[in-house]
């Protein structure tokens, strides 16, 4: 709220930052993506190895998780190419003391937590529907209301190397604009949001469908696009990992640039920015 202050302290004004449909689809997406990630790991755990190509090359996965015996005890092992990592307690072998078992991802990361592929699939496909319907709503509404064109599409000035570099430096220093500049997304935000909304999330659906033997008959070109069903499974996993990476970075930026202000703006739509004090209070907007 703008406080009548004497002098130089800037005033805070609330601006309308996020439309209702953006906020609603954001939170539904949070729910759907979280449960898809967890049930996806449950499904992955049924065969914790990934391959490239049409078929599985069982003795040569590019990544695999499992257990092994070392000095009389069982350890978790993750193999990536020719690299072997000991990942006991997290990947390959985990569980509470005395109840450890061989499993890809640990119980706390999977839905359900126990080994149950059938239920994992039910959760996954239910939230896949929610995710797709919600994503289409976001896309269509964002095209209609201009969210993509006005808020997300970078301008020429945005993508100027000098500007991009400046944004990288200020982000690295965790210095975020508070004034007029904060009314709009910066180029790194635009790039990240567009990459997630237009590339990574649709990639999950496309690679997911490519794993379907039924859908393969309807759209065999997807197999050619991704290089086979096992490649699609690998790309599904890599895209999901990139989404997890985005979520972690996104959460870190939310906290670093003012957790409360950001969270409020995604709930009520109102975002506080600082403007130079005006002589006449209340004339800011």
């Amino acid at each position: 709220m703008p406080k009548p202050e004497n002098g130089t302290k800037p005033e805070k004004v609330l601006v309308y930052r996020h439309r209702g449909v953006t906020r609603l689809t954001h939170w539904i997406n949070v729910l759907a993506v979280s449960l898809l990630l967890m049930s996806g790991l449950e499904i992955f755990n049924a065969h914790p190895a990934l391959y490239w190509g049409q078929k599985a090359t069982f003795d040569q996965p590019w990544i695999s998780m499992g257990s092994a015996e070392k000095a009389g005890r069982t350890i978790g092992v993750t193999k990536i190419g020719s690299l072997t990592l000991e990942t006991t307690g997290v990947l390959g072998y985990s569980g509470p003391p005395g109840m450890q078992e061989e499993r890809g991802f640990p119980a706390w990361a999977t839905l359900p937590s126990s080994r149950d592929l059938a239920d994992g699939r039910h959760w996954h496909f239910f939230f896949a529907w929610l995710f797709v319907i919600n994503g289409l709503t976001y896309w269509i509404m964002s095209l209609i209301n201009g969210h993509i064109r006005k808020d997300l599409a970078p301008s020429l000035a945005d993508v100027a190397p000098k500007n991009v570099w400046r944004e990288i430096v200020t982000h690295a220093k965790l210095r975020f604009p508070k004034g007029e500049e904060a009314r709009h997304y910066n180029v790194l935000q635009k790039g990240a949001y567009l990459a997630v909304a237009l590339v990574l999330l649709p990639m999950m659906v496309a690679t997911g469908l490519t794993m379907s033997p039924g859908f393969n008959a309807a759209a065999p070109w997807l197999l050619d696009l991704f290089g086979g069903r096992q490649s699609a499974r690998t790309l599904h996993f890599i895209s999901a990992s990139l989404i997890v990476g985005f979520i972690l970075l996104h959460l870190a930026m939310v906290v670093a640039s003012g957790a409360w202000n950001n969270i409020r703006s995604m709930i009520t739509g109102k975002y506080a920015i600082e403007v130079p004090p005006s002589p006449a209070a209340g004339a800011a907007e």
Binding site: Q54, A56, F58, A118, F125, P213, F215
Partner: protein, 258 residues
């Protein structure tokens, strides 16, 4: 300043406890039969949309001999211990008869020789296990459509049930016997065959000798092995636990196109 730090601290604590709560709640909900029952309701939607977007006659991708997996990984039963099956195996399936009955005009009992004389098809296709792996093999077998026409399906027949020679799980009520079922769309699909050869050789026991179903646009658990009897039915709710298949009785989807 201390106000913001406090608020941050409070937010952090709230976030952490919410996270823990969500994880705990997630786990509880994840196992709750009601919650699982609710999310399972999407299965009907998934099945219908697949039927809608996948042309009934659309073929599964066929591959080249160079794509064939060096070893076609067997899964499920790989050497049935059922007495009847062992007896057939000992005699080289000489007395084996594929029974076709249920809602048919002319019940059949065909020897392997008779099955091999039926219209056949050879196809190099990909087998997708529900676990996530795939294997490519070359299958030769009798096309199911002409076989069913030979028996003559009655008007009310809607599904073909495949009764198998293997017990995959020991149970008191016999519900551990493997079986599967498909509808007539898949039964009459040109690539749906009862395979007696894998990679140009007699079908090995591990892969389902003497006959295994290939219904190429669905997952591995639909590809019933050790097929003994085909039964045409109007519905399958009276068979075993009533869900149309061994794995379907254990929570998996009846239509396994994804």
């Amino acid at each position: 300043m201390s106000d913001t730090t406090n608020r941050r601290g409070w937010l952090k604590a709230a976030g952490a406890s919410l996270g823990a709560l969500a994880l705990g709640a997630c786990d509880k909900i994840g196992m709750d039969p009601k919650a699982v029952g609710f999310v399972s309701k999407a299965e009907g939607l998934t099945r219908r949309v697949q039927r809608l977007v996948i042309d009934r006659k659309a073929l599964a991708r066929e591959f080249t001999p160079a794509d064939i997996s060096p070893v076609f990984k067997p899964n499920g039963s790989i050497s049935p211990s059922d007495a009847d099956y062992r007896a057939h195996l000992l005699k080289g399936f000489a007395d084996y008869r594929l029974v076709v009955d249920g809602l048919v005009e002319r019940p059949l009992a065909l020897s392997l020789e008779e099955v091999s004389a039926l219209p056949s098809r050879t196809q190099i296709t990909r087998h997708d296990c529900v676990e996530g792996w795939s294997a490519i093999g070359k299958w030769t077998g009798a096309r199911l459509g002409p076989l069913l026409d030979k028996a003559g399906l009655k008007k009310n027949a809607r599904y073909i049930v495949f009764h198998c020679g293997d017990t995959l799980e020991e149970t008191l009520d016999g519900s551990g016997q493997y079986y599967e079922s498909i509808d007539l769309i898949d039964a009459y699909h040109p690539q749906t065959i009862l395979a007696y050869q894998l990679n140009d050789k007699t079908l090995p026991v591990a892969n389902g000798a003497p006959l295994r179903l290939r219904v190429e646009r669905q997952l591995g658990y639909k590809q019933a092995k050790y097929v003994m009897r085909l039964e045409a039915v109007e519905d399958f709710s009276h068979i075993s636990r009533g869900n149309g298949g061994f794995w379907e009785d254990r929570g998996y989807e009846w239509y396994a196109g994804i």
